[in-house]
């Protein structure tokens, strides 16, 4: 457990993706079975046991420490698990009676079977046996608050690196595996056969598109491509298959292979034909596609209530067919898969699943026009939910990852505003010597005239050269410092205007401006523009009102 805790501790501070990978791979190499398998399970969110409530942790510490000292410490540290981990009194045990600290395996397997009444005593024993970092990790684990910025995908990629394998191979077999993954590690280390995925409804690694740029078109011939709308929903893979007894198993996966079936039980009955659809998850109300904001209200819910299901009816819009019953279609050219998809969707004949229409075009000019006005180019009333167009080579097989030249995404122009730089914060890792996180604001009427109100934060979009320029500007124009944050001069005639591009707006009571931006990034530096000419909050409010209305839930 202490070694796993050490890994978590280091990961929590490490900002770089490749460095995180190195740390995790190194752990998998050093630590044996079955501990590393349970670590992989913890990192991919595959562990399941009843979590301990914070109140239990409080009771444990209250019984062992002075109340005043605990209060002062908690105030200082600000995190319950961390405070308890740090101030837990050392167990007064005779040296010969010093039990070894628990392994991760022991912790995980014990927690699975432990009754609620036995938990406090067991936790106490472990807390006595572990060091500070070990106690911290244990408490985070048992309270289910293990947030360390690692995606399941990253953990699997680190495991793949152990055997020089492609992470896609792990994704393919993942649904058939379970902790502590002895067969997986045996294969990765060349000691065993590749585990076979006996899952009747496995995930297939997803094919992704490159963003197209103006210069790319010259080299492309319109005849080679099929265009379709890019819907602003959630890319998913809907898979159904027969198990040993001939029953249908249906699963919904995110594009990273996460099983999200539990969040969308209302779609499962529609997946009754064996096959694998690549499509977009949308909310449809009276046949109309709703905005991403509406869809978002169905996401990340712990409980999917009948009310939620009724008010946010889920829908699958199909792009591609990867498997048809027993047949793997991924080697076929797109144009043939598309024909199979049309037949498949017709055979399904289900109101929750329909075909994403293609966009006919003869020239890039024609497609440019369609993209500029999806409503008149076939998207009709759903045009608001169109994020752009996709271009797919007619002869492209379905390849995992982002193969060059096969699929292109051509997004509609993002929304753009001019905002004023207000605060800057140091970045992380390679950027830790640069002020690279920017909070920007727009003008609004305040008590003493116009004032700037923050509307968002962005930390990319600029070039390396532009980063140097902003960094220099921040250092020379700091008005106040608060820890890592610098206040940058922002007055009517003094300051820096940033052109900010973003994908959409949402109402947000958490922000002072009442508005939150989706995916904001710095698109240009407007050294030419005085701050007073930057945009106003009213402009954003108009943009917000132009977006489809939301339903309160």
């Amino acid at each position: 457990m202490n070694r796993f805790a050490e890994l978590l501790d280091r990961l929590a501070y490490e900002p770089g993706r490749n460095n995180k990978l190195r740390l995790i791979t190194c752990y998998f190499r050093e630590v044996g079975d079955p501990d590393r398998g349970y670590a992989l399970a913890a990192l991919t969110g595959a562990l399941s046991f009843k979590h301990a409530k914070p109140a239990l942790i409080r009771d444990l510490i209250a019984a062992r420490t002075d109340e005043v000292l605990f209060g002062l410490s908690y105030d200082y540290v600000g995190d319950l698990s961390e405070t308890v981990a740090l101030m837990w009194p050392r167990a007064e045990l005779a040296a010969h009676n010093n039990p070894p600290s628990p392994t991760l395996t022991e912790v995980v397997t014990t927690l699975r079977t432990l009754g609620k009444t036995e938990l406090p005593k067991q936790l106490e024993r472990w807390l006595d046996e572990l060091d500070e970092t070990g106690r911290w990790a244990l408490l985070k684990l048992v309270t289910g608050a293990l947030r360390i910025g690692i995606s399941a995908r990253l953990a699997k990629t680190a495991a793949a690196a152990l055997g020089d394998k492609d992470p896609h191979e792990i994704e393919l077999i993942w649904p058939g595996l379970s902790p502590p993954y002895l067969d997986l590690f045996a294969w990765l280390e060349g000691r065993g056969e590749k585990p076979v995925n006996r899952d009747p409804a496995p995930f297939r690694p997803v094919m992704l598109a490159h963003a197209i740029e103006d210069g790319d078109f010259a080299a492309l011939d319109p005849v080679d491509y099929i265009a379709e709308w890019k819907w602003d929903g959630i890319r998913v893979q809907a898979v159904a298959g027969r198990d040993d007894r001939g029953h249908i198993t249906a699963r919904l996966y995110s594009r990273t292979g996460e099983d999200i079936t539990g969040s969308f039980p209302d779609l499962v009955p529609s997946l009754r034909l064996p096959g694998a659809i690549d499509g977009e998850l949308l909310i449809l109300r009276e046949g109309r596609v709703q905005s991403f904001n509406v869809l978002q209200q169905r996401l990340n819910r712990k409980v999917v209530s009948p009310k939620l299901i009724k008010e946010f009816p889920i829908h699958l819009r199909a792009y591609d067919l990867l498997g048809d019953d027993e047949n793997d279609l991924r080697e076929l050219p797109f144009v043939e898969r598309r024909e199979r998809l049309e037949t498949f969707v017709r055979k399904l004949d289900d109101s929750r699943i329909d075909l994403s229409p293609t966009v006919p075009f003869a020239s890039w000019e024609a497609l440019t026009a369609a993209r500029a006005d999806p409503a008149s180019a076939g998207a009709g009333e759903d045009a608001d939910a169109v994020e752009g167009v996709m271009l797919k080579r007619r002869d492209a097989p379905y390849l995992p990852g982002r193969p060059k030249g096969q699929w292109w995404k051509w997004k509609r122009d993002p929304h753009i505003i001019d905002a004023v730089l207000m605060y800057a914060q140091r970045g992380h890792g390679k950027r830790s010597s640069y002020y690279s996180d920017y909070t920007f604001g727009v003008w609004t009427k305040g008590e003493g005239g116009d004032e700037l109100v923050p509307v968002g934060k962005a930390y990319f979009g600029f070039t390396d050269e532009e980063l140097l320029q902003i960094d220099r500007f921040v250092r020379r124009n700091t008005t106040e410092k608060f820890g890592p944050v610098r206040h940058v001069v922002h007055e009517g005639d003094k300051g820096l205007v940033l052109e900010v591009a973003f994908e959409g707006l949402q109402r947000s009571p958490r922000h002072k401006s009442g508005i939150a931006m989706r995916f904001p990034r710095i698109s240009r530096l407007r050294w030419d523009k005085p701050p007073r000419e930057a945009d106003r909050l009213e402009t954003l409010e108009r943009m917000l009102n132009a977006e489809p209305a939301e339903i309160e839930v």
Binding site: Y13, V68, V77, E82, R426, K481, P484
Partner: protein, 366 residues
């Protein structure tokens, strides 16, 4: 100039009326300039220029320039000279550990504090009452200075930098192992260790050497003078090189020590994909480490941790405790719960240097 000044003892004749029993505050009392000893006619670690100063150790928040006469250990005086120049005080006088001298109506004795090279606790005895001003101290092992000595006393004035039970520093050797493991895992990156230039940096270097690391260790310019001084006092730190002028690529796989404020500065751009470490007791608390953008926190402190503070207080046998600079509340509460008389002692000017971005030349420690 050393030794050329008249001895302090000869200059001052106490005027205080003798009392059969002295109250502690009659002997040592907090004043604007620092802890004042009226019957002895001096201040301990004064933050403003005074006529006579008795100084515990060389950190800039305790040892300042501009006093009339200064009494301190040889090392402390040398460090002040290195930092402030020859004329940092009107006159100086050296005192050794264990040596006792009379100042006015009191006797003053220096005892090792284990904090940094030359650091001392100061025992002030007047009549039958003995007060020990701890200065900064630690009871943990440190290859670069004389170990802490427990001094039985009636009144103990303790520091409280890490006076909360969440601060437990653990074994510094384990933290250095963490650093070396990271160097082994990322041989193409440079490791930058933020450490205060007086004491902490040399201790980290010595610990690295004890752990078997024998490659050259690189130094930020602000580290060089004091580190050379440590070496001149016979502390073996192995091969050290200035980092200035070294090519970026050549710094892959190396360890460089720098003042903490430099590790998040433009200066770091000369290093290949640096891993930023920071050796400090504050690194025990995640939020503090994250706030500084530290990637590799190393819990190595030159102050006693909670267990060290409480154990020391108990062992002095003092019935009265004064708690100063740091987390006074928790430690005062602890003392009272153990039946000791305790109160916070308000002394200003001893830095929580880490709360602000102190200029490199003047940074203190923790």
């Amino acid at each position: 100039m050393r030794g050329s000044s008249p001895r302090m003892t000869g200059e001052y004749r106490g005027t205080a009326a003798y009392m059969t029993s002295m109250r502690p505050q009659d002997i040592l009392l907090p004043a604007a300039a620092g802890l004042c000893c009226k019957p002895g006619g001096f201040h301990i670690d004064p933050v403003r220029p005074v006529e006579r100063a008795v100084i515990t150790h060389g950190h800039s928040d305790h040892a300042r320039a501009g006093h009339g006469a200064v009494l301190a250990t040889q090392e402390t005086l040398d460090m002040m000279r290195l930092r402030y120049g020859e004329n940092f005080a009107g006159s100086t006088q050296v005192i050794r550990y264990g040596e006792e001298i009379q100042l006015g109506d009191v006797r003053v004795k220096f005892h090792p504090a284990g904090h940094v090279l030359g650091s001392a606790q100061i025992a002030v005895t007047c009549k039958d009452t003995c007060i020990v001003a701890s200065g900064d101290y630690k009871d943990a092992r440190d290859p670069t200075c004389t170990p802490f000595e427990l001094v039985p006393c009636d009144v103990f004035i303790t520091e409280a930098t890490f006076g909360l039970p969440v601060f437990r520093h653990g074994d510094a050797a384990d933290e250095v192992k963490k650093l070396l493991a990271s160097v082994a895992l990322f041989p193409e990156r440079a490791h930058l260790v933020g450490a205060y230039s007086l004491g902490k940096a040399q201790r980290v270097i010595a610990l690295l050497r004890q752990a078997g690391y024998d490659a050259p260790i690189y130094l930020h310019g602000a580290m060089e003078t004091i580190t050379e001084y440590y070496q001149s006092r016979g502390i073996d730190l192995g091969e050290l090189r200035p980092v200035k002028g070294v090519k970026k690529a050549a710094l892959a796989g190396t360890i460089t020590l720098a003042p903490p404020s430099a590790t998040s500065d433009l200066w770091t751009r000369r290093f290949p994909d640096p891993v930023t470490a920071f050796a400090s007791g504050w690194m025990r608390v995640r939020a503090r480490a994250r706030q500084r953008g530290v990637e590799l926190p190393l819990v190595i402190s030159d102050h006693a941790d909670w267990d060290g503070l409480t154990a020391t207080i108990a062992a002095t046998g003092a019935g009265e405790i004064r708690v100063t600079h740091g987390q006074e509340d928790a430690l005062v509460h602890w003392c009272r719960s153990k039946g000791l008389k305790a109160q916070p002692l308000d002394l200003v000017g001893y830095g929580d240097e880490e709360e602000s971005e102190t200029p490199i030349a003047d940074e203190a420690e923790a």
